[in-house]
Every structure is written in C-alpha cells, then in structure tokens.
C-alpha cells in the first residue's frame, strides 16, 4: 500500500515536474509585439501571416497589437510614455524622420533579408530613409500615389482630352475649363470629389493636396532652410490655395458632409475624383469600363504627385531585433499576404511585387500611377517637425476651404511650424543641413 502511495506520489511529482518544464518551455518562447492599424481585411491578413510564422517558428509568439487608424498617434505616444514600444511598428512614412530623430527606430538593413532589400523600388527606399544618415529605417511591400479618376461618359460629353501619360497631364487651364463645363453638365452634381470627407484627422489633405500646391510653386516649408514663414505663407501658396478655395466656392468640390465617395456612388454624382491608388479596386468594380485613370494635373510648370504609405520599422528598444527582422522578411515574402494586397490594388514598393501586379504594368489600368512614382513623386518634408507641419497645414486648408482668409490662415500655420522648430533648437542636426 505504501509502495502504491509512493508510486502515486512519484507520478504526481513527475507530472508536476513535467508541467513546470512545459510551462518553463512555454515561457521560453520569444514574444514579438507588432503594432499595426488597418481595416478588418488587413487585420485578418496580418493575423494570418503571424499564425503561419508561428507555425514555421514554434519558439516565437507573435502578438499583434491593433491600434485604430484615427487614434494611432495617441496609442503610439502612450506606448512611448509607458516604455512599451512594440518590437515592430507600422508607421506612416512622412513621420519616419520624427521617429528616428526621437530615437524610436533602429536601422533595418542588417536585419532584413538581402534579397528583399535589393528588391525595393527607389521610391520605397526613399520613404524609409532618414535624410541625416541616409540609413534605411523602414521597409514595406507597398508605396502609394494619387491620380485623377474620370467618368468616361461625362468626359466624352464635354469633349475632354484624356491624357495617356504623365507627360501630357492636363494643364491648369484645361483642368479648370473642364471643371466648369462639367459643372453645367446634366447628371453631374459636383465636378470633382477631392475626398474632403477624410477630414483633418488623417494625412489626406497634406498627402493629396500638397502636390497640387507644389505643382503651383508652393511648398509646406523651405526644404533647405527649414523655415515655413516666407514659403508656406508666400505668394505662391496664397495664390494656389485661393485657387482651390475658389473651386469650393463655385460648388465644384464635393463637400465634407457628403462623405468619402461621390464618384462611383449611386448615380455617380461626381465626374472626377482625385483619389488614391487604393480607390481603383472598388471604383472599377462599380463603374466597369466607365472609369479612366489620369495623371494629376499640372497646375504650374511641373507635375507633382505624392508618395509614401504605412511601412514597417523595428523599434530601438526591441530586445529581439533579429527575430523582428526575420518576421518582417517573412511578412513581405508571404504569398497570401501579397495576394490580399493585390486584391486591394496595392501600389508596388518591391520590384518582384510590381512584376506580379498587372494593374501597374505597362498598359495596365494604373500604369500611369506607377509612372508618376518615377517622374513626379515628391516626398513630404522629411523633417522631425513633420507632425506639426502637417497638422498646421491641414488646419489652415480646412479653414480656407470653409471660407477663411488664405493669407491669414497660412501665416498662422507658418508661425506655428517655425515656433515648433525654434522650440526644439532647430532639431539638430537638421539645423546644420543648410
């Protein structure tokens, strides 16, 4: 009996030891935290990649941290303050300079598979590069652009010329002339949707309207002296924004209250749309052959288009940067992730992905968008003060579109930006760049 009890005790002890060992083994797993944003489709796509990575690497746990798009920056600030930065974070490309300057990111070149680095397009390299040390701090499968979508039926009705490449984009005179004609065309409620409905909580205004203004000779800040006064509130910017305000006053632009799509909504009340490349998938599904994709108009002497999107960086505080790099490489090569990105008309940031994306190949419906990347794309100012620059600019544009005085609003924005730069002693070493 004693022996029996002893055996049971021994078995229990062994079982406990095994449990402890298993628990110990479970604890020994390396946990990689990945912070990201996105809609349900992207959330699922990232989650599925994480599951596949865990299956291939049983000693690693990937913990996905979802941050709502409209509260991403607040969530990021909270993580910084709480010293809980994730190992990997998705970040909006124009904010990269600020993050690197603040010491949140580490260079990714030594951590990412070399074949992926060689596969990056120039525009993708540009969006992930910090201008001071020219090092690569983030990488992504994708990049982005904005084009001018047109309703073929309406454009044919007014006899508009359809540009086939970036080189023959509409001039300002043509563009405004067509807007005026469209405003009088039956069935057209608004000549153009510029997606004012995105509001000022996203990057949209700076991202999409900035290039139009730059085309007119304006810029958000002088990119050599890093001073906004004299540039953002200069004559070119005031004129350019007064021009856009005039479009709004004439009722040519879809108002904020009408939401984020009047181009292919029922009845197709907007004739043109200045929309992101991501807009194509849904627009073409709704409009079939009635959609045309054109380059952004040339308001001044040169055409300008935006670039940059949400890309992946590895935090400076990551205790396992090699594994984080391994996961990022796995993510960017993952076939199903790429398939999902393709279904969303994702703009290629890797050459291999471009080759897999017939939408963007020569002759493809979005070829002109891809052409913009190499011919007209200009990045948003790569400066640590960018969060202030974009916020001040967006508020000024919002005021102007709502009837405010352009000079007054831009002067206030320029002052706010310069004050932020002064408050940070010029963000050295940016102040030595001149």
């Amino acid at each position: 009996m004693r022996i029996f009890v002893g055996n049971r005790l021994l078995s229990a002890l062994l079982a406990s030891a095994a449990l402890v060992a298993t628990a110990g083994f479970a604890e020994a797993k390396t946990v990689i935290h990945v912070m990201h944003q996105g809609d349900p489709g992207w959330v699922k796509a990232y989650g599925d990649v994480a599951t596949r990575f865990e299956a291939a690497n049983p000693d690693v746990d990937i913990e996905m941290i979802y941050a709502p798009h409209d509260a991403y920056n607040e969530k990021f600030s909270a993580a910084v303050m709480a010293k809980q930065l994730p190992d990997i974070m998705e970040l909006d490309a124009p904010f990269l300079a600020n993050y690197v300057w603040s010491g949140y990111l580490q260079p990714v070149k030594p951590l990412i598979d070399k074949d992926l680095l060689d596969d990056m397009t120039d525009s993708n390299i540009a969006q992930g590069t910090y201008p001071i040390d020219k090092d690569l701090y983030a990488i992504g499968l994708t990049d982005s652009s904005v084009v001018l979508y047109g309703n073929k039926k309406y454009l044919e009705a007014i006899g508009a010329r359809i540009p086939k490449s970036v080189d023959d984009a509409w001039t300002r005179e043509e563009f405004e002339g067509y807007l005026e004609k469209l405003s009088k065309l039956e069935g057209v409620k608004w000549p153009i949707d510029t997606f004012r409905g995105y509001g000022i909580k996203t990057e949209w205004i700076t991202y999409a309207y900035g290039p139009l203004l730059e085309s007119a000779g304006c810029d958000l800040i002088d990119r050599k002296t890093w001073k906004a006064s004299g540039t953002l509130d200069g004559e070119a910017c005031v004129k350019a924004l007064t021009m856009m305000q005039d479009w709004v006053k004439k009722g040519w632009v879809v108002p904020t209250s009408s939401g984020t799509n009047q181009f292919y909504a029922e009845g197709q009340p907007a004739a043109l749309a200045m929309g992101g490349h991501w807009f194509y998938a849904e627009a073409s599904a709704a409009m079939k052959d009635n959609i045309v994709v054109m380059p952004l108009p040339k308001i001044g002497d040169k055409g300008v288009s935006p670039n940059g999107t949400w890309i992946w960086g590895i935090s400076a505080t990551s205790e396992n940067p090699e594994i984080a790099g391994k996961f990022l490489s796995f993510l960017l090569k993952d076939k199903e992730y790429r398939e999902y990105a393709k279904s969303q008309s994702a703009y290629p940031g890797l050459k291999s992905f471009a080759a897999e994306s017939p939408l963007y190949a020569e002759g493809g419906p979005l070829a002109v968008a891809f052409e913009q990347a190499s011919k007209t794309a200009i990045a948003r100012p790569p400066h640590p003060a960018y969060p202030t620059i974009t916020s001040a600019f967006m508020q000024a544009v919002d005021k102007i579109f709502n009837g405010g005085d352009a000079q007054e609003a831009l002067t206030a924005a320029a002052k706010k930006i310069d004050e932020d730069i002064e408050d940070n002693a010029g963000y050295p070493p940016f102040d030595e760049q001149k």
């Binding site: 349900p40 979802y66 941050a67 509260a71 984020t260 799509n261 292919y264 029922e266 991501w278 949400w310």
Partner: protein, 297 residues
C-alpha cells in the same frame, strides 16, 4: 353659411373647449415631430445594418431611401458574430459587458460609501474634502490620461480587464450625487439607528442604501453609459484581443482607405442594445430621481 357663422356669437365654454382641443393637437404634433427627429437616426442605423452593400448605404444617406430596405439581410450580423480570432466582435461585446457590470457594481459600492461618509461621517475637514471632490470633477479626463497610462503600465495592468475598470470606479461626480442624496434624508433616521446600536456600516447598508434607489439608478445609468462608450482609454491600454471592448473593435471598420458602413452599422446596433436595456431596467427610478431633485431643488 359663412355669413351665419359670423353673425352668431360662439358660446364661451365651447370656444374654450375648442381652444383646448386645438392646443392639445398642436402639443401632440410637436411631440410627434420631436419623437420622429429623435428616433429617426436610430431607425436609420437599424435599416442600414440590414443592407449588405456599404456603397448603397452611403448613397442612400442623403435621401428617404435611408429609411427603407427592400431586401433586408442579416449578413452583416453574421459577419461580425465571431467569438475567436482578431475579428471576434461577439467576444468584444461580452468584454464590454463584463467591464460595464464590474465598473457599475463596484462603482455603486465605492461612490455610495464615500458619499455616505461625506454626508454623515464625523470627519475633520469634511467641507474641504467635499470642495476637493467638486474641484476634481472639473478636471477633464484627457488631461490626466497619459500620466494614468504610465501609472497603469507600471502597475503591470496593461491589456487587462482591471485596467479598464479600476481608474473609473471612483468618480467625483457620483460621490457628489450620493452625498447630495444622502444629505437630503432626515437626520433623525441616522440618530434613531445609532441609538438602537447600529454601526455606521449597518446604517449605510440597511437603511440608507434601500432608500437610495433613485440615486443608485441614476449612477448606474450614467456610469454604465460612460463605461460603455469609453474609446480613447481602452485604445491606449489594451493591446491584444484579450480584453478589447466593442468600441475599439468597431474602429477597425473605419480604415485608412475605406469605411465599412454595413458592418459598422450592425456592430453599432449590437452596441446600442445593452445600454438601452440598462436604461429600461432603471428608467423608473432614474426619472423619479430627476423629478425628486427638481421638486426638492
């Protein structure tokens, strides 16, 4: 006929009766219009949640079609009714419910106790303490949110249910509400119970709490709504889907590139139901607390 009507004097009583009836009709019409204005967004939300085309929802929004669905479907509800994985909206709904119940129950106990002590306790500097409670109420939540995040993370509470409950259990507003309610009850009640040998806790539990149903209902409803609608706080302190509440989960439908109105509407309808039930359960006392305070005012 019209000549006759003009020449015959109308009896005063009949005229008054007609006047009253007209007034009643006007009043009823006004109430009907106000009710329609208040109900129409909810009705629109419900109708939109039964449409499976998000672009149609958007297109319909500016017209009367927003209040009509020709081919209703529950597909949006089916899409979100998952209980596992990253998009487990069913589970997030239960997370929110658990947080609401825990916050309200513990909040009722803590705040009522504090209110009771402020009203009847023999504390030194009670007046100053009461002034402090009122002063704390005017501090906006946003101004203390970041230090609170740091505190909670240092306490190791990030990504737990506790982090969504603990900071909001005690509230100056509810302490003051209970204080006001208890202070209005007759002093004799307290003295008589004390003379019978009841302890302060016994007096609070057996006499004052049963008498404070209107205050309990008011605090339950206000606290429940507050907890249910929390968005920024859980966004900052939840990481994974473990304790994610429904308000944060709904944010996934508002992506960078597009808004999934169909599923957002269905999730919003589901999100609305528990607070409506909470209100309906307590509304009798809730209304009486307002009426009572107005009369006593």
């Amino acid at each position: 006929m019209s000549d006759l009507a003009l020449t015959q004097p109308v009896p005063l009583a009949i005229a008054r009766g007609n006047g009253k009836r007209s007034l009643r009709i006007v009043q009823s019409l006004c109430i009907l219009v106000i009710a329609l204005v208040m109900i129409s967004p909810l009705f629109m939300l419900l109708i939109a949640s039964l449409k499976d085309d998000r672009f149609r929802i958007l297109a319909d929004m500016g017209s009367f079609r927003a209040f009509w669905v020709s081919d209703p479907t529950l597909s949006n509800y089916k899409e979100i009714a998952h209980f596992s994985g990253e998009l487990a909206y069913g589970r997030y709904l239960f997370n929110s419910l658990a947080i609401l119940v825990a916050t309200v129950v513990s909040g009722l106990v803590i705040n009522s106790m504090a209110g009771f002590v402020l009203a009847w306790g023999s504390l030194r500097g009670k007046a100053a303490l009461l002034a402090l409670v009122v002063a704390l109420y005017v501090i906006p939540q946003e101004s203390i949110i970041m230090p609170l995040v740091v505190m909670m993370s240092r306490a190791g509470l990030t990504d737990t249910f506790a982090v969504q409950i603990l900071p909001w259990v005690a509230s100056p507003l509810y302490v003051f509400l209970f204080y006001q309610f208890f202070a209005q009850l007759p002093k004799e009640l307290y003295e008589a119970a004390e003379m019978d040998g009841a302890s302060a806790f016994r007096i609070y539990r057996s006499i004052y709490m049963p008498l404070s149903l209107p205050a309990l209902a008011t605090v339950s409803i206000l606290m429940g709504i507050e907890s249910w609608n929390q968005y920024l706080w859980p966004t900052l302190v939840t990481q994974t889907d473990y304790a994610r509440p429904i308000a944060v989960a709904i944010a996934t439908f508002f992506g960078q590139d597009s808004i999934y109105w169909d599923r957002a509407m269905a999730a919003s309808v589901l999100m609305m139901i528990p607070v409506l039930i909470l209100y309906l359960a307590f509304q009798r006392w809730f209304v009486s607390s307002f009426v009572g305070s107005a009369v006593k005012g």
